[in-house]
């Protein structure tokens, strides 16, 4: 009886844990994105100075609590040699954020092929993916719609969103996090 009631109690009141991986090419702004997210949702968080953020080796983590969910972010390094490691994190991931640098249109072919490679993974195909088009406040940044054209996701069966953000200024960061929380709980629409 105790176990049953404890189970029911847990069912209703326990915070749900979700794991979110953040991937993207090097210097796209993944770490800055995570820092900005933390500063928006964690009280009294001392933000790292963006100019002091260097290339990530291994990973950075961050926890964000929101309503009844707890998001655990894994910010993975984007250097070419580190990209092979991304796949090892997918097993436990519930959502993914793919960060794209909108100002480097010369890298777009690489972005496209990298995204295709990421999307080829069967686990990724079944989790919500958010494409954050970063540095959108800069002059000459590509529109989110342009980036959308690059991305092939024919086999993706979960939700996808492409949103322009600015990790440096913090625009749209909240929308991104809310989208992730919403899509983690969402079910297909019945019409």
């Amino acid at each position: 009886m105790y176990t049953l009631s404890a189970g029911i109690w847990e069912k209703f009141f326990k915070k749900k844990d979700y794991y979110v991986v953040i991937v993207g090419l090097d210097n796209a702004g993944k770490t800055t994105f995570l820092e900005q997210t933390k500063s928006h949702f964690v009280k009294d968080y001392g933000v790292l100075n963006p100019s002091k953020i260097t290339a990530t080796v291994g990973l950075n983590t961050g926890n964000v609590e929101l309503n009844n969910t707890c998001l655990h972010f894994w910010d993975l390094g984007g250097q070419e040699s580190l990209r092979e490691l991304w796949a090892t994190y997918y097993d436990d991931a519930n959502a993914m954020i793919f960060v794209v640098d909108a100002t480097r249109s010369d890298l777009f072919p690489i972005v496209a092929s990298q995204f295709k490679e990421v999307m080829a993974n069967e686990i990724v195909q079944n989790i919500p993916v958010l494409v954050a088009v970063n540095k959108s406040e800069m002059e000459g940044a590509a529109a989110a719609a342009e980036v959308r054209m690059l991305l092939e996701d024919d086999n993706h069966r979960s939700d996808l969103a492409v949103l322009p953000v600015s990790a440096l200024e913090g625009t749209n960061i909240e929308r991104c996090v809310h989208w992730i929380v919403r899509s983690l709980a969402s079910q297909p629409l019945y019409l």
Binding site: F12, A143, A145, M149, N155, A161, R182, L191
Partner: protein, 254 residues
């Protein structure tokens, strides 16, 4: 009060989940999927390329209209039952979500374009990728109504004057009908002239929001279905359709 509703919702979800599991257990077990992981079968399936369950139909919808008429509000209301009160100009967002249309699984891909800026060169590019269009104006704003003509011309130009492109004309902000500037008669006339549906919505109150997307997706499905039948690809998909409709019947009995 908030807590109570939260608990109730959670409880309801839990019961729903249990029922789903039971239903799955009762009706779906005899599927042709192997019960255990069989590497050989998987490999042969992968080699054959398009798996019926993986091959899914994507309906690409583009929202057009001048700034501030409620394109994003409609999109968000449709996808996530949400209405955002404050206005924040869109730079072009894109969303994709799984939808079950008439008992058939498919995806809807919505490109929510920027209304205010004139990105016209890029615009042509993404209009080309669209298969259906939702042309939004505000019934409180005559200018936005006038602009719909321009948007349609632009769409037709990109689509090589194919006037059968699925378009739905949407008059938004229907919750403020008492202040309306664009008369219903005028809207209906334009829809008739274009040969499309006219729907009056309120993104705020979620009036007719589903209808807009439903009408458009059906239209797109019909168009696609027609072209597929002509080329004659879809034998396996149609059998899947039959199976699904059978399941749906079970559901209504339950």
């Amino acid at each position: 009060m908030d807590k109570v509703s939260h608990v109730l919702r959670n409880g309801w979800n839990w019961i729903k989940l249990k029922f789903l599991a039971l239903w799955h257990f009762l009706f779906r077990r005899k599927s042709d999927e192997p019960e255990f992981y069989d590497p050989e079968a998987m490999a042969s399936k992968k080699a054959s390329g398009t798996l019926p369950p993986q091959q899914q139909v994507v309906h690409k919808v583009i929202m057009v209209g001048t700034g501030g008429v409620g394109k994003s509000a409609l999109t968000l209301q449709f996808m996530y039952d949400e209405f955002v009160e404050e206005y924040e100009p869109t730079k072009a967002d894109s969303y994709r979500k799984k939808v079950v249309l008439d008992g058939e699984e498919c995806s809807i891909d919505i490109l929510d374009t920027a209304g205010q800026e004139d990105y016209s060169a890029i615009r042509d590019n993404y209009y080309r990728s669209g298969e259906g269009f939702i042309c939004v104006f505000s019934i409180l704003d005559m200018e936005s109504f006038e602009a719909t003509n321009e948007f349609r011309e632009q769409i037709l130009r990109v689509k090589n004057s194919d006037s059968s492109v699925p378009i739905v004309l949407v008059g938004n902000k229907g919750d403020m009908r008492d202040q309306r500037v664009v008369s219903a008669e005028l809207c209906r006339q334009r829809a008739e002239q274009w040969g499309c549906h006219y729907v009056e919505t309120s993104a705020k109150r979620r009036e007719n929001v589903d209808k807009v997307f439903y009408d458009l997706m059906r239209e797109m499905k019909r168009r696609k279905g027609g072209s597929q039948a002509q080329t004659g690809i879809d034998a396996s998909a149609s059998s899947g359709r039959k199976k699904r409709s059978g399941i749906k019947k079970h559901c209504t009995i339950l």
